[in-house]
């Protein structure tokens, strides 16, 4: 695929090449479980990548919100003192854990 430089009407503005865009789209493709391919050269239309990216971000938002609500429910269901102690312990344990798996 020949790299066509897009024409820019504004002087001094850097031109975005097709290759640059294709490269970024391909990088995105690797992040999305629905359309991740083993070889980056495998063709998925850029349109599809954008579409699936939007769907993926929406599902991640839902997941984060759901998990956050579960945590809220957990904290709500324990009395203040035990919850406080548990939160403090979680910080200590979490830090130890993250040092082993960065």
């Amino acid at each position: 695929m020949s790299s066509r430089r897009s024409q820019s009407t504004q002087p001094g503005v850097s031109r975005i090449s097709d290759e640059q865009i294709a490269d970024l789209v391909s990088k995105l493709q690797q992040l999305i479980p629905e359309i991740r391919t083993r070889r980056r050269s495998d063709k998925v239309s850029a349109s599809k990548v954008l579409q699936e990216t939007c769907n993926y971000i929406r599902s991640l938002h839902r997941e984060v919100d759901d998990l956050s609500d579960r945590l809220s429910a957990l904290l709500e269901s324990t009395d203040g003192d035990s919850a406080q102690a548990a939160i403090i312990r979680s910080l200590l344990i979490k830090l130890v854990w993250s040092n082993w798996s960065p």
Partner: protein, 180 residues
């Protein structure tokens, strides 16, 4: 007993997010106060604040080097005035100068638009930047999700251990006084 812990990888986004988020949880939990049975409104308010805390903590862990994190932090810090601004910007939308156009004609404008709405700060950046920010944003959302799960799991363990400790006497109290 000191709770000072110096992590061996202090710069990791995951670590900073954990610190920030758990600190927020501590604060929110403290403010629960003496109310044994909070109202529905109060409960939902707390749920909402924990949600906001998770996004705010991630954005602040990333800092100001990313456009999306700056947008999130700005939005949260300017919550009340932001609503008024949003109204204004809708009126001026037509007169706004166009960002550098996407030169790929095969890319559906509709999808690009959707993406711009999903990625914080996505409206005002050129297409290349948008793709770049999107990739980073996705990685951080994933980290956010997995870390919240771990915090949840560890709090569960903590609560159970605390209850056992209650039986052993004094262990819960010792941990709570650590905080002072």
């Amino acid at each position: 007993m000191t709770t000072q812990i110096i992590p061996s990888n202090p710069d990791s986004i995951k670590t900073r997010f954990t610190y920030s988020f758990v600190r927020a949880l501590k604060k929110l939990n403290k403010s629960r106060g003496a109310s044994v049975s909070p109202s529905m409104k109060e409960t939902y308010r707390r749920y909402h604040m924990i949600r906001v805390a998770s996004y705010a903590s991630m954005a602040s862990a990333v800092g100001s080097k990313r456009a999306w994190s700056r947008a999130v932090l700005w939005k949260i810090r300017n919550r009340t005035s932001h609503r008024a601004l949003k109204k204004k910007s809708r009126i001026h939308a037509l007169t706004r100068t166009k960002v550098r156009e996407n030169p790929r004609s095969d890319l559906n404008f509709h999808q690009e638009n959707d993406l711009r709405k999903l990625v914080p700060g996505g409206e005002g950046m050129d297409f290349c930047r948008l793709l770049n920010e999107t990739a980073h944003y996705i990685k951080c959302l994933r980290t956010q999700a997995t870390t919240i799960v771990v915090v949840w799991a560890v709090v569960v363990v903590g609560v159970i251990v605390g209850r056992i400790g209650d039986g052993c006497g004094g262990w819960v109290e010792m941990s709570v006084t650590c905080d002072k």
